[in-house]
Structure formats: C-alpha cells, structure tokens
Symmetry: D2
Subunit: 341 residues, 4 copies
C-alpha cells in the first residue's frame, strides 16, 4: 500500500451535465480527492453547485480558480470551444488536467495545445477518452497484447444510440460519436489512421430530416489494418457499442453485454442499455480514479494531447469524405518526442 | 397431403466430391427421387459410382444421359466451365436442372444461358445458392419480410474458412467465397448490387504467399443499402458464416451457432464448425428436397439463371476493384420479364 | 453407398395427430419408405388418410394390416393403452416396430412386452424416445463418450411447456413429460435410476385448478449420479428443453437455442420455440429415417423395449413420490440377456 | 448532492487476507473513509499493516481500538470464532459494524448477538453477504420486484470453485460456500428457509480423499418455493456463480458472464473467472461504499444480525442432512420487532 497523505483538491471547469457529474463522482465515488472549486460562465449555476460541496468555492474565470491554493488539479468539462483557453491556463499554473473530449473542436487548435505542452516540457493533459477504462475494452487490449491471436488485421465496430439530440447534424456523427472509435482504433491497434472513407446508405426514416444517419465509416491504418464503424444515432432500440478485432489466428469481440438473461413472453434475452451513462458509468469512475491516483503519484498517464490532436485530424478527413464522397487521406505533423515520436 | 405417385429419375452430371455427395443425398436422404444416371468425363469414375446405385447407368456425355427415358431431371455438379454446355443440353431436352454455383464462370456466358432460357420460354434452372435453404437465413428472411424492424439499411457479413485449398488465388476469395454473400445480399434485401469496393489489409502471415487474405468487400445497392463482407479464408480457427441486418428499428444476426455450451479448463463456449459441410449439411438437404418436390409438382423455384448472371457480373466488378483499387460500378442488362423484370 | 433396392412398406397404426404426422413424414421426408397401410379404430379417419396416399389401404384392425404382403414394418402411434396388443400382433408377424412412447401405460404391461420379445428371441421394437436423435443431445452424448470431461456427477434438466392441454393431471407431468428426462438420464449417463423424489412448490397461479405445476423431480442412479428435473407445463412463455451435465472436469449444456439474435425495442435476444414440433421436428425426421435405414439393413437399433419398461417403472415410483411425499425406490426385474443384461 | 463534511474513521479487526484487502479498499477505493486503526492478535502483522497507512494505529485488542477517538466505525474481518466478542465490544461503544460472514460459527452464538443488539435497541450490524451488492444479482432482485414475471416458484443455483483449500471438509461446503445461496434465497425471494435436504453423488475423483464434493442441496421455503444449489468446490475449470429464478410467467438468470467472446482454435467463447475476488471485486467495493455512505448518514442498512442468525440455523440443518441423510427442518426463534418481525 502506497502512503497517500494528501487529498487532491480538484477544480471542475464547467458545471453542465458532464461537469456536475464529475463533481458528484469526485465527492461520492473517488477515493483521495475532493472538489475545491467549480467554474462556470453562469455564476449562479457555479454558486449553486459549490453550495452543496463543503469547502468549495465558485468562480466564473478558470484562471482565478487555478490560482487558488487548494487547487491541485483541473477537470475541464466546459463546451469544446472553451477547452483551449482552459488548457493554456492550466499550463501556466503547471496543473495536471483531465480534459473531456474533444481536446479542441479542430486539429489546428489541438496542434496549438500540443505545442504549448511541448514548450512546458512535460505532459500535463489526459484526454477523456474513457473507453480505454472500460473493463471489456481493457480485456480486449490485454488479450491483443499477449499476441496469442497474432497481428490484428481488421476491426469491426458498432456504435448505436437510441435517438440523436435536437440540433444534431450529419457531421456530428463523425465529430462527436465516431471520435470514440478513432481513439479505440489508435489505442487498441497502436496504429495511426491514414485515410477515411464515409459511406452513407439511404437515411433511416427515423432520422431527423436532413441527417444522414446511419453512416458506415472506414479507416485505413499505417499498420495495414482495415477498420469499419457502423454509426447509427437513431437506431431506436438502445445504446450499443461493440468491437470485434480480427487477428491472424482468431477474433475477439466485446460489447454484447449479456449480464442477465430472461425467458418471458416467447423470447429469451436481455435488456440493452439506453444511454452511455448506463453503459460506461464504471469506465468514467475508473478513468477519474486512475487520473487522481496518477496525479497523487506525480504522474500523467492515459490519452495524451497528441491523441486528441490525431483524432481531431481524422475527424476533419471524415467530414470531408462525408461531404465530398470517396477516400480522404489524413495528414498529421510529425509526432513530437514528448509523445513518443 | 399431395399425392406423389412417381419417383423422380435424376441424372447427376459430375461425380467429383460435390456430385458424389448429391448421389448419396438423392439415394439416402431425399424423399421421392432416385439417381438413374451419372455422367463424368472420367468413364471409370462414372461406372464406379453407378455400380453402387441400383438401376443407374453411367455416361461420359451429358446429352446421352438426358436422352434416357428414366431421366426426369438433372443436377449439374461438374466444374464451372462445363456448366454452360450441360445447361443448354438440358434446355434441349426441356429438363429441370439444379445447377451448382457458379452458373457459369463469367457474366457473358451466364447471359447466354439467360437468353437460352428466355428462348425456351419458361424457367428450367435453379442455381445452387444453398444459403437460401439454411434454417437461420430463412428465419432472418422471414423476419425481414414481416417489416417489424423497418427497412434494411446495412448488412454486415463475416465469412471465414480454416485454410484455403492449394492453388487458391486472391480472385477466388471474390469468385468462390463472396459469391454467397452476393446472393444473400440480393435475396435478403431484394436489391441489385450497383457497385463494389474491395479493400485488402496487409495479408495474414498465415495466408499462402501472394494471396491477399483477408479482404473487406463493400457493396452498394439500388435500394440504398451498404453491405460489408469480411472474407478470410485462412483464419485458422473454423468455418464461420455470420450476417447481421441493420434495419430502421432493430437488427438481427444469424450464424453464432451456439448449440452446445461447455465449461472446461477456464473457458466457457462451444466448438466452431470446421467446414461448410458441417455448417450447411441441412441446407443442402433442404435445397435438394425442395427442388425435387417442386419438380414433381411441375414447378421451378429458387435462385434463377438471372440470379446466377447478376452474381457473375458483381464478381467481375469485385475482381476489378481488387486489382485496380477503388469503387467499380456493376453493369447489368435489363432484367427480362421471365425473371420478373 | 449401400445398395438399397426395395422401398420399405410401412403400416401406421393410429392416425391421430402423431400418426398422421408420421404418414406425412414417411411420404414426403423419409427416403426409402412409403406408407402401404393405415389403421384406426375410426374407419372413416383411416380411409380419409389412406385416400391421400397412392397405394395405401385402410384398416381398423392392426393384425389385418400386418398380414398384408406390402407391409414390411409398423409404426405404432395409437393411444398408449392400445400399444401392447399392437406390439404382440407385430411379434406374431415378426415385423419391426417403431412404437411411440410410452411403450405401455404401466410397468407390468411393459414387462409382458419385454417377455414376449424375449420369447421371439430377437429385438423387434424401437421405442420413440426421439431426444436421442436430436442434434444437440447427440453432441452432448458424443462429448461425454470422449471422456474428456471425466465421469458425469450430476445432470440438471429444464422442461417447460407453454400450457397444459385440457384434462391434464399432476401425474401426467411425470408420466407424459418427465419420461423424456428418464430416458435421457439412462441414455446419456448409461445408469439405471434407483430412486425418485418429487417436490412440488406452491403451484403457479397459471396452472389449472388442482394441478401441481411446476414440480421438481430428483433421480438417484446406480452410477452414483444425482439428476434434477424442473418440469413446468404452464410456464406461459415457450417450449424449452435444456440439459446440463456436470462432470469431474467440466460441464456441458444444450438447449439454449440461440439461432437468431435480434436487437429491438430495448432488448437483445431471440424467440423461444412454442411447441415440441418446432423444437424437435428434425429429431423426429432423423429418428424415423434411422429406423427405416436400420430396418432395410435388417437391424434393430435405438431405444429398446427394456428402455420402455425401465422408464415405466421410474414413472410409477415418481407418481408415488408425488402422492405420498419423500423418496421412493425404483424396483426393476433383472435385465435380460437380449437387452445386454 | 448531500453534504458530507467528515471522513469516516474505520477500525479494521483482523489483518489476514480479507482484512488487509479491506484496508486497501478503504484507503484506495472507497470515498469518504480512512483506516484509523487495525487490530490483530499478531501484533507484528498489525504494526506492519498500520505502518503503510498514514495516521493509523495498531492494536491487539479490539476494544482498545474501538475506544480511540478517531474510530467511528468497525469492520470485523477476524476468524469466525472471534466475531462474537468483537461485535459485543462494538455494541458497548455503540459503533456501526460491517461484519464479514459468518456472523458467528453457530446459531446459538448468532442468537446471542441478535439479543445483544435488541438490548441496544437499534441496529448496528451489517453482515458481509456481498452478493446483494453484485450488479447482476441487483438487476435480478430489481426485476423480481417489478412483479412482471409473477411470483417466484423455484430458484436454481450453481456455485463452483476451481479447488478446495487444504483442510477443507464436507461440512464446509455447507457452512462456507452454500451460506451465500442461503442468503441469496432469503433476500431474493423474501422467504425463510424451512427445510434442507442434502444429496451427495459419488464424489469427483478430483475431490480430496474423504470430501463429499459435489453436493446437491435443496431448500424448501415458507413461501412455498423450492430452491436447489449445486455446490462443487473442486470443479477444476473456474469460479462460477449462477442463479435462475423461475417465476409464474418467466425466468431470469444471472452469472453467465459473457464479457468478451473470442473465436480461436476451433472454439468460440470466453474465459471463466478463477476466483471470487475476480468475480465479486465490484460487489465488495460497492458493499463497503454503501456501508460507509449509510454510516455517514447515520443509518444501518444491508443484511442484519437476524440474517446472520437465520443462515447459521440453515447451516446446522444442512450439516445434519449431509451427515444423517434425508430432509431436516429448520427451527428459528420468533423474529424480533427490531428486524421487522
């Protein structure tokens, strides 16, 4: 047992649905941390959240919160366009950050974050790609690493949501949903994605007008693998995330989720989760605990700013393929040494 | 119960592995039929097979067998290049034919068969796409036809063999294996395939030198569906055929094959079939029985010469995509009225 | 290929639901046999069935049918109380018989059949325990015979019907349903059943008044195994037959029936068969084909009159346990040499 | 969010495998608690564990630890025979206790604890039946509580361990293993167990000499249900805990554990957990967090001393049935009002 004398003081930037959930998690689930500050452009919301947490202050300016003596680390859960400023502020205070995905809304901004972290000279950012902390994906990764199935050749993914939120666009299927499969591909296979092709069947009659849903997305990788992703955000029946890796000597699949099996009314089977919270609640808990533990040890682990940048670049290629059709190559800058380049 | 006074006399053309198996099936499994003639260019082999069947004659010429008084119907199980001549001979004798796939090795020859049957003025050919007679695929088709899942949008297929036979080429993955998924796509969805794209990951280390195995094949259809096929003929672990149809309101998958589940040595699960005979023996039995029953009723059912032609045309597009890369459009002649055009 | 010159002429005794289905099966499914006579105490029904089969005569007396020159073998599908007379008539004509279960309604009568067959000096009877011909049970048996899981220690069975037919009694759960598990136990394990204990929970509210449904039945065997059977004939949701053998080094389970898996309306899973025909149609087909094939080879295989007798004796013990409570020992006569004693 | 100002100070009694794991859990996993004292008769072991935890003192006497100002609650993880004294000491200090199962080694001692807690006048004890905190069992319980499947009629359980520890006896299968199913039965069904019957097949050749393994245990309940438990502690292949509740209109099963499915080497399937830690780690985490949360709210929840007493009484009946054979009735005192009597 490592000695862990201090409790980590965390500032949570953004107190919307995701931020408020992180506050609850840090206070009620995570060991070794507490929320000492919350930040929101909506001062009333920040105050209202802070009021329920003992010893927690409310702010509207991220930098002010980061300057506080009892803030040791930062969770960024504000909207994507606000991430860059919050990250640069954290770099200024040299604070470790868990930044919800996306790192930034586009690859150019992501590259600026990567460069700023390089200037700092050490990693400070963990990006919130929480699937890496899902028990099933972790098993899959561990199996691949044994090498017993041989080299991965293909990766088949299914990603289904009950219904898209109001205001959802065809591009958001790539930018908000398939980003997870981009990260999963890079992490599971250890390859960079070199090209994207997006195919769109005739939309489902249940998709809102003008939304191309479902889509079928293909990645080619620098390791010679082919990856396919079915993204279907108005499938109606449940939230389902599945992945099958096909290797030289076998395949492995996760995400069938067969916890309880019932027989009733002429059918056997079970229920399908209805949203990502139900499916990935343990992954979020594990992600935040891992980040707190590493931070208390003085380490930075997990998905890096480089991972955030690479995914942003793949998104841009994917959106171009969706709009113009055909295969679009992904262009990345050289990988800096800080990220193992 | 329909009255069925006569036993159908069947000539089997070709007495290789598949032909000999059809002789056994007709004699020992099928109700209402018997083998009255066998044909093989190898006269000794034909004689040896005929000798084991009571009242069966041996021939080297298909036409001679078809002229015999006790031959009411024909099974063509000779090599693909011999199919066209056998089919035209059967048309001359106006005999019903069950023709093993492929109808012919190329689309041009297939079109000649289609045209010859049109001249005859009625259907005589059933093509041996036996997956249509597999219990699981039949369930899947029946479910789709209820409409309860809505319109099909995507179809995901897996087709895996333990190891390729000697002499196998990259093109044969398309021409000999994926032909089944071409037929399944057209039959399940009721769409024509309009374009093919073949992607090939770095080949498995277990593929013979020079064979691009696995491949990932995409179909677009005139019904706006996207279909993907993983074909992997040296997967090493078993023979596996799976299909998942994604519809507007749900999905349905067949081919998991979970008959017996064991717990032993740290693992739960079951065995995977090792070849297509084990997986599809019942489908072959059902196919031949259905053909015999229809023939005795004076009907022709099942996959038509048009289906054989359409698949041959998709194969040619697929091979071109494999060789040259990119998307290749499929060109079909107009569908004749005889085939519902 | 064995030469099989003759078509077996079969007399079907009893033309109720089961008998009529056997007539259809012999005529339309089975290879190498045809129905040449049907027998029913209801002369009109017999005539009406015979009229639909070419060359088939109608009778009201089994012995008359058996005397016909074109009758080579007999299927007994009349009600249980009529079995003994039909079997003894078949012995007189030395005809092979496939006798639907039960062999006879009680052990005393069954013993008389066993003794009559002994006098005849060779086996003539196959009892219709069709589960031995079910593909999954056959796999289970084959696995046990490899010995790789070690010695069987326990066998867990589930046997569920949607609803009991009118007139069903508590005893019929033992005599009509659990008889299958009695045969399965003896056949799979190769043990005789030495004691029976029947436990009955508070009946389901969906069971007809006065019917103790479900019941939980325990067998002890002379091989030291413990066998449990859940019998539930008003489960409402489907027809389900499952068996798990627990051996020294592993377990094996059949009957989960996962052919097609759907995702829809918040649930994954599949349909449950609604009756034994749907579940065991292939087993019946295989059973009758195996009986026809053996008969044409001059052999008698499958469950014997001894098996029918042993199951009748276990039934009597089971009914006594249900009525009086507690454990009831099973008493069998010594096994005659004709049945491997 | 509830305000939770204080961190709960916990004394852990017993620093063997289970106690040390609870120390780790409280320190590294649980939110809102820390270990302030550890107790062990082995002073060196206590000191060595305490040394790794900041601000933690070591004791050899439970009462001394409980007297410390920074001890707010107690976890009892010492051997069963030491539980009674530790519990009575906790009552004296009026401290909430999480007591590992068994409450005490026999029903008489358990009854003394029940009476002592009654004298105290309010509940202080939660017994460590952690299956109530397993996600799958919780789903099963929740489904039963909806009533949609109707009244529970039967409960089938499987409980398998890879191998028994040295010194294991036939009675320990009842007292150490089946205790979990006793608790599960009472909790899931809400019934008391009224009789136990233990049947033992010929032991597996892999069971240590003299150990009757496996055993098949039957419970009858005051709600008219029949419950069966297969307990097999030398099954060799894995740690497996399964439960199927059979209700009037359907059944529900947990414990199949199908997280990741692989295809390799001729087999599909997945791995089986190898011990209870792997299978129930999340249940332990959830149990301790729930106990900490309730304690901080000033509440006592979860399995009570009465539950511990009732299970001890069922164990005694079970051991008698194993020794003497046959059905043994369970005798309980009247349920006190403190426990809902």
């Amino acid at each position: 047992m490592t000695q862990r004398p201090e409790t980590l003081g965390v500032a949570v930037i953004g107190t919307g649905k995701m931020g408020a959930d992180h506050v609850r998690r840090i206070q009620e689930v995570t060991s070794g941390a507490r929320v000492t500050a919350v930040v929101d452009v909506d001062a009333e919301r920040a105050k209202s959240v802070a009021a329920r947490v003992d010893g927690c202050t409310a702010h509207t300016d991220p930098a002010a919160a980061m300057a506080a003596a009892d803030v040791d680390a930062v969770i960024v859960a504000s909207p994507g366009p606000a991430h860059e400023a919050a990250l640069l502020a954290a770099f200024e205070h040299d604070l470790p950050v868990l930044c919800e995905k996306p790192l930034t809304p586009d690859a150019t901004a992501a590259l600026r974050v990567v460069e700023a972290e390089q200037k700092l000279g050490h990693r400070r950012v963990q990006v919130g790609f929480m699937r890496r902390y899902d028990a099933e994906y972790m098993k899959l990764k561990a199996l691949l690493e044994t090498g017993q199935l041989g080299r991965p050749l293909m990766l088949h993914n299914r990603h289904r949501n009950v219904a898209s939120a109001p205001g959802w666009t065809s591009e958001m299927l790539i930018n908000d949903s398939v980003t997870h499969e981009m990260d999963v591909t890079r992490w599971l296979l250890g390859h960079e994605i070199t090209a994207v092709t997006v195919l769109a069947p005739t939309p489902s009659g249940n998709a809102p007008d003008g939304i191309r849903d479902p889509q079928f997305v293909l990645f080619e990788t620098d390791g010679g693998a082919i990856v396919d992703v079915e993204i279907f955000v108005n499938c109606g029946f449940g939230y389902q995330v599945q992945a099958e890796v096909v290797c030289e000597r076998g395949t492995a699949r996760v995400g069938d989720g067969h916890a309880m099996v019932t027989n009733a009314a002429g059918r056997w089977g079970g229920t399908i989760a209805q949203d990502f919270v139900e499916r990935f609640v343990d992954a979020y808990d594990r992600e935040v605990q891992a980040w707190v533990d590493a931070t208390r040890r003085g380490e930075v682990v997990g998905p890096s700013a480089w991972d955030g940048y690479a995914v942003a670049a793949v998104c841009e290629a994917g959106v171009r393929s969706l709009r113009d059709g055909g295969r679009v190559a992904v262009e990345l800058v050289d990988r800096p040494a800080l990220y193992g380049g």
